[in-house]
Structure formats: structure tokens, C-alpha cells
Point group: C2
Chain length 346, copies 2
Amino acid sequence: MPEQTTGSRPTLEAVAARAGVSRATASRVVNGGAGVRRPLVDKVRQAVEELGYVPNHAARTLVTRRNGAVAVIIAEPEFRIFSDPFFEQQVRGISRELTAHDSQLVLLWVEGPGDHDRIARYLGGGHVDGALAFSLHNDDELPSIISRVKVPTVFGGRPGWPGATSGLALPYVDCDNRGGAREAVRHLVSLGREHIAHIAGPRDQTSALDRIDGYRDVLLDADPDLVSQGDFTVESGARAMAELLERRPGLDAVFASNDLMASGALRTLRERGLRVPDDVAVVGFDDMASVVESTDPPLTTVRQDIEGMGRLMVRLLMRVLNEGEQHTGAPASVITPTTLVRRASA
Amino acid sequence: MPEQTTGSRPTLEAVAARAGVSRATASRVVNGGAGVRRPLVDKVRQAVEELGYVPNHAARTLVTRRNGAVAVIIAEPEFRIFSDPFFEQQVRGISRELTAHDSQLVLLWVEGPGDHDRIARYLGGGHVDGALAFSLHNDDELPSIISRVKVPTVFGGRPGWPGATSGLALPYVDCDNRGGAREAVRHLVSLGREHIAHIAGPRDQTSALDRIDGYRDVLLDADPDLVSQGDFTVESGARAMAELLERRPGLDAVFASNDLMASGALRTLRERGLRVPDDVAVVGFDDMASVVESTDPPLTTVRQDIEGMGRLMVRLLMRVLNEGEQHTGAPASVITPTTLVRRASA
DNA sequence: CTGAAAGCGCTAACAT
DNA sequence: ATGTTAGCGCTTTCAG
């Protein structure tokens, strides 16, 4: 760490002196001024103004034991997690909401298991009031690390349970994957489609699992051959579509677990000379702008409010923090609604 | 801000007591243990271990006046700044180097002029030891805000001078844009090309300006019609190439100010039935993996070590911080070398 | 409603 | 080499 930093700034003491009040009163004013008479409030405010006083964060943290900072943990098991547009939106929401709560965003970039120690120490060291993390894979170690150091944390996306057995209930914010999937499939049904296939996402991500569940909720007796496995990439979607077509040439609709795979499916369909939606209707999931708009035809999909989810993560965390010692009971997670966005593909 | 946070943790006092030494000695050991005898060091270390002691950051900051945190300012004048792969790499380098320096990365997301106040207050509030920012456009207000609050800051990319007149010299890290451009053009010359065009980047970004300067360094008497204006996007590259071809059908090479525009140029060339590199040789700039590898033919380009630049930004900042009061003289910036990466396009 | 005083946990002179 | 002693700047009882 560097040696030096902030040049000495005016202290509360100085403000108090200038305003002709005690430090205590000055402090009260700075913190909202409740219970201080107008004339004094004004005097202090003016002194603050004139001196350009800014409270010393460290001193305040030392006594209040809250530091107005929240860690956002970014794990990077695969490439590009950071430049994922999905991710960007969520972090943006988080950033905005954190600002609204006067808290700072401290970025914790986890590059691998080698970083776990450092992260645990940091989180356990009380440098932040809480943490926000994202559940990427079921085998992720993060959830257990987090519950070990007991720092209040909210997850983005329902965490898979590496320690489900250990009975730890981590609060999370997720969209209604299952309900959204149901809506997508119901829409296809309402269009009169009778052979609705599904291109599933990775089996180790809860979102994909929930979506396939939603699909099955509606199509109780779905033909297993109508479900094909993908991995959320465009390529896998194209491949899965090809497989489906081979197994069930008569299918007339497909619900893909995300937009990327849907766009891959569209490509395969086009190559086979099948018309969308006439021959095969296609619905995706996510409403990812970059995909959805450039697809041909424009993709009907299920939208989730990603930025809103980011904001909700913060709100939920703040609630947990404010509950303090008391309400130690498992904090409720929140599931946000999805909406079907009709475009041309279904 | 939340009310509560870290449950009470063991203090240095407790460690000292358990180890049977004074707080001062315990402190010395915790901070490296210089000048403390082995047996005591061991005792203290053990006590730390047993108690699971972690230093209280706030207390330490309060007295040392350094807080082990550096702000990374992300301005978002346009979309997607965050998901820019370029950006991601740089932040990754920063994150890694900061970790190596035991400092935390605090993310400051600036969404517009409305945030300027907040940022200035935060930066001026001494919450961080220093800041890292990126120079995006010459009309960016950030540089002046930063120099106003006088927080030690290092820029990524040479800042344009909104306050050049005010004589503020902001330290920065940038690659040798001009030299890299020269190398690119010289390469084209060495290939025997005689009519080398340039697709320039935005006039309000220093990198683009430096690159065109490099181009001119080599082609002292360059035909002005051989230079066309783009804006760093694929589309603009395609358009600029079309223009160039119209004005100077005989051109046999083009140096684009970045890879994106080079790929646009490639497209136009292909559409016109021109062969690359046989008819027209093409060189880009950046060596952006996602572009360079998918281009046809693979793009010859100028590589800059982006992650390394991120790391250098941190090192430079740390140096500035350590110099402290003394060396207030204009801190040296650093220019990193570029390398020409030969692929098939030139 | 306001002020006096007691720390929060740690480091850094200054003694010893 | 180790311990003693002041604070760092702020909030917060507790008196008045």
C-alpha cells in the first residue's frame, strides 16, 4: 500500500469552532441535523460550506462499524464474464442503487481458486458491509466461502447447492425462470402448435433447469425426444435444432432456453429451408438486445428486467443489513416477474 | 447506509494480551515484524492465528491516512463502454496489480454530468488513495474535475487537453500510438506498396490523432485524398474504404486506425472483388482478439499490451503516491511499445 | 436542546 | 528490542 494520500482536510472540530458550537452539535447537523435548532443548524451548515468540510470516512466507520461499501464479487470461470452484456446491465443496476444508498461498490475479481483465500480474508475482514455475488455454476465454491465468513450476501440468480445439504439458505434475486418458460410455451400452445420442442441450457445452471421445468409444467406428457441439450451458445443452439429436426421432423415450434441458442436454431431452420414462424415458431429467453434485434425474423422472447434485478439485489442486501442481529432467520429471496415479448418469430 | 455490519472481532489488544506483549509489539509483528525478536514474533503470530485476528481497516486508515483503495472511474458517454473487450482487459490488469499492492478497487461509474458532483465529492473526500481514469474524449470533463479535487490520478490513454491551457499535466499510460502507426506504414512500404491510404479514427481521441501522425511521419508527402475519416466502428471503416476507393482507385494498401475499421474495410474490399493482400494490403491497430481472428484473411495489425497497460497504470499511481509531498513535479507518464503482428492481410 | 467526555482500534513517537 | 502514551476524527451516551 502507498505511504501517503489525502492532504489534511478540515475536521469536524474546525467546523464546530467556526460555527461556535460543540463538536457534538456539529456532528448532529452533519448527520441530518435532527434535534438541533435552526439557527445553529444554519451556522454549522455555513461553516461546513466555507471550510469545504467532508467527513472522514475512516473515523466514522471506526465508531459506527459500518463502512458504506459493498463488495461485488465477479468470478471468472470462463472468458468474458465481464464483457457479457447481461452482466453489464446487472452491475449497472447495482451501481445505481448502491449510489442511492450512499454505498460504494468495491469490485472483487476472482480469477480462480487461488484467489479464494484472499477473498475470504477480505470479506471476513469487515472491509465491506455486505457482498453481492452471482451464481454461475452449481459447483462454484463461492457460496460456501461466503457462508463461512458470514458476510451478509445476496446472490444474483438462484445458487445451485454445493452445500444444499449443509442447509445454508442464501438469499438471492432471480427472475421467474420457470414461470417465464411456462408463459413462452403456453404462447406456443395458444398459437395452435402441437409439437413443441425445447432446447435446454447447461444442466449445472439453475436458470436452465428452472426453464426446462417450466416447459414440462405445460407439456406434462412431453415427448423426451423433443428436448435437446445446448450450452447457451449460438452454436449449441444450431446443433440442438438440427438434432431435433432429425428426431422429430414434424415439430412445429421450439422454445430455446436463451436467445443465443434461439438464434442458432433460427440459423439451422433457415438452412433447412424451413420458414419461421410458418413452419416452426421460435421463442427465446432473456430478451438480450444485441441478439433479439438482429435476428431474422425478430425473436419473440421472454424478457427479464436485468438492471432491476441488480437494484433489487442491493435493496435486499440493505434490508438484511438493517435487520441486524435480530431477524437472523433465513432472509427471503425475491423472484422478479418476466414478460413475454412478442415479435415475429412466434 | 446500513446500520449494522461486522460482528465484533478480536482487537490487537486481545492479541497482545494473549501473546503477553504490548499492543505496540503486536502491531509491529502484524505489520511485518521488523525489529522484533523471534520468540515474540512467533508468540504474536500464534495469538493472531488462534484468535483469527484481522486488523481493523478503518482504525488503521484513521491513523496512517492511507486506505488501501483506489478508484477506477468508468465514464459512460456511450453505450457498452463496460463490455468493451478492450476495457475489460485493462481493468483486469488493474485489478491484478492492485491486488499485488494490497489495494482495493473501488468502482466509480459515471453515467453523466449529473454524477460529476458525487464523484468530485467522493474523490475529494479522501475515500481512496488515488484514482485511475480513462481518457475517452477530448471534451471530457473528468480531467478537470480530477485536477480540481487534487486526488492523485493516472489516466489510461493520453488525455486530450480540455485544460491544456491551464497547464495541468496529468500522468498517463498509453501505448506508442504514433510509433506503432509508423511501424505499420513502414511495413506496408517494405511490401512495395506505393499508394498507402489511411482510415482515421475520431478526431477527438488522442490515440487516433497520434496514429494519423505516425502515418504522416512515414508518408511525409501523403496525398490528402488518401486519408478518410472513420469513427472506430466497423461500419465507418467500410464506408471510409468505399470513399477511398472512389477517390483513389489505384491505392494498394490501407492502414486503419483500429481493427474494427480494418474489418469494415476488408468487407468493402471483398464486395468490390478486390483481393487482400494481393490487390490491397490491410493493416489494423489494437490486435483485438475477437476481430482479428475472425477476419478473412486474418488481419495484420499493431498489438498493444492492454492488460500490461492496466498494470502500469497502477504502478505509476503507486509511485506517485509514494513520492508523497516531495516530488510534486510533473510525474512522468509512460508509453508502452507496440509490436506489429503479421498475419495474412499484409 | 446542547455540551463534555469517553472511546472505536490502531500506529508512531518517545521512553526505557 | 519492547513498552508507554498520545492521539487519528468521529459518534454517542450522559449531564446539564
